[in-house]
Amino acid sequence: MRTSVRNIKGRLKSALRFFGWDFSTFVHGYNHPVETTTTPNRLSRRLILSVALGVLFFVAIAMIPAEFFAWLWSRMNVFATVFLGIFVEAVPYLILGTLASGLVEVFLDRDQMSKWVSGRPAAAAVSGAFMGMIFPVCECGVVPLTRRLFHKGLPLSAGISFLLAAPVLNPIVVFSTAAAFGWGQMLAWRFGLSLVIAVVTGLIFSVEKEAGNVLRPALSLHDHEHVHADVNDSFFEKIRKALLITVDEFFEMGRYLIFGSVLAAALQTFIPQSLLLSVGSGPILSVLVMLALAVLLSVCSTVDSFIALGFVGTFSFGSVLSFLVFGPMVDIKSVMMYLQVFKRRAVFYIVAIPFMMSLLSGLLFNYLSP
């Protein structure tokens, strides 16, 4: 029994390898050498298994009523439209982020970085949070850029607070939030809270002195980088190299964007939003629902305030605020991209600390100013 389970596992793996990706590729981003073991005995067993599976498949299909397929097909249309919506919206921002990363790689050297950024964790975390004002990126673009800045020697605390704050604390988002809510309380609290959460999370990470415990070994950035920047390159040569890096990173990060968008679109296609909204009353549940919605919708931070506006009537100030603070830090596609840069434990903290703090501030608002 146990051996057959192992066989099926192996078969699944080899089938996946046939399509060019196995799980280790997905996690590590590079290929292990593939070892194949095929004996005649196994081959005949494989034949029997695949025939049996094929028959089972057709029987199963024949048993499903035709209406199900019609239903599934109409769902597929919704899925495709929602997926392409997220993807088309995100691609320009991803290009901008990877372009910024490419330019940082060729034009910024490590010495300059250490000159600019303080070594003290607190100062580094605060300055990291405000770096978004110089690099106006949203949550798709910030991930490759942060990784590149780490590679250039940015301290952990500064990088983490940049990662979390930049999607909100940047000129584009300031104006889009003001356009939706006016220059008032919502704007002030959104930026204040995002700043606090980002700096606190950055400081917590500064306890970890060894960056290697937090960051994934950036394979593509060291030995395997096939584009090498050189100080003596001409300006155009530098631009050319920056664009090559842009392409490589666009593909590397793009897969996580695509994976996250597929997931978000699938959840939206099959989970009724009204279900979420109908449980969303009460001071605690309403905050939780808005946080869940922030993750589920996975929209870009540059426009999420217009979406939040739609909830103002139904939800309290605190709940909408927690949506605006948490959404840019954590959503399905950004978590997928975080997993590419950080170790899993670190991703857990990057998600959990902002979650707890957004929840807490939402609750405080709901109870103190009903």
């Binding site: 399509f19 060019g20 990706w21 590729t25 997905f26 981003g29 590079y30 290929n31 109409s74 769902r75 597929m76 249309n77 919704v78 495709a80 439209t81 929602v82 997926f83 392409l84 919506g85 997220i86 088309v88 919206e89 691609v91 320009p92 290009i95 372009l99 939706a180 006016g182 096939h226 050319r240 664009l243 090559l244 392409v247 490589d248 593909f251 590397e252 793009g254 897969r255 597929v262 978000a264 939206q268 296609t269 099959f270 989970i271 009724p272 939003q273 009204s274 909204l277 919708l297 996975s298 929209v299 870009c300 426009v303 999420d304 217009f306 979406i307 506006l309 739609g310 009537g313 139904t314």
Partner: protein
């Protein structure tokens, strides 16, 4: 996968994405996916994709030159699965026929006959325009923000939307619906305005109609909402921008 082959696929995929986006832009279908406000950003994306594809193709040429000069190419390409992922949006875009969100999305996205979704001051502007120029969203805003809705009763209205039948309404009534999209189709939600017409039963679910008539106020789920008493209902093609942008 050898380095140069990897680069070739990269270039082709970039070009593929570029052409896919450009064809959507050319056919006007971009607004089926995103708010018209972000179309310039996508156009920038299309240009950048073309530039990046060009950079890759020239890089392939250079590496071929280097190979001819006898230089060794340090070939270690990243995982090829990076490439196959980029095929996903292309395949979804090509294999599943494009269709703007319609009533089949109501099951998960829901629909509203009242929409508290815009900053309060925006309904004031509506008084300056002619009532026949108001779209479904405008009417719902007006009924949502104004205390006294009887002032609108009897006003002339002319709205476009797709037909949706629902058990909240009687047999000679139907909803004229539109999706409202602030960012992209992912945040789209439907709004609907009731309409009354003797031949309503002849209409097809999801067909686009132009409804002309006068406004009446009715109550659905304890809320005062607008209803249009139709003088004429005319089938129209899907408008260039199927969604409304608040």
């Amino acid at each position: 996968m050898p380095q140069r082959m990897y680069r070739s696929f990269q270039g082709l995929l970039l070009l593929g994405l570029c052409i896919f986006f450009a064809s959507k832009a050319a056919s006007g279908q971009l607004t089926w996916y995103i708010n018209a406000r972000f179309v310039p950003l996508t156009l920038f994306g299309i240009v950048m994709l073309a530039v990046l594809a060009q950079i890759i193709f020239s890089e392939i040429k250079r590496s071929r030159q280097r190979a001819q000069d006898g230089e060794h190419d340090h070939g270690h390409a990243p995982a090829s699965s990076n490439l196959w992922f980029m095929l996903v949006p292309l395949l979804i875009g090509i294999l599943i026929p494009a269709r703007p969100l319609d009533s089949s999305a109501f099951a998960t996205k829901g629909f509203n006959t009242n929409a508290p979704l815009v900053s309060a001051d925006s309904s004031a502007l509506l008084f300056e325009t002619d009532s026949e120029e108001h779209n479904v969203l405008d009417w719902i805003k007006l009924f949502n923000y104004e205390e006294d809705v009887t002032q609108f009763v009897g006003q002339k209205a002319s709205v476009i939307g797709f037909v949706f039948f629902n058990e909240d309404l009687s047999e000679n009534q139907f909803f004229v619906s539109r999706f409202v999209v602030s960012c992209c189709a992912a945040d789209g939600f439907a709004i609907a305005m009731a309409a009354e017409w003797d031949e309503a039963a002849a209409l097809q679910q999801d067909s686009w109609v132009l409804v002309k008539g006068s406004i009446e106020a009715i109550t659905i789920n304890d809320r005062r909402v607008p209803m249009i008493v139709a003088e004429s209902v005319q089938e129209v093609p899907v408008p260039n921008q199927p969604y409304l942008f608040p």
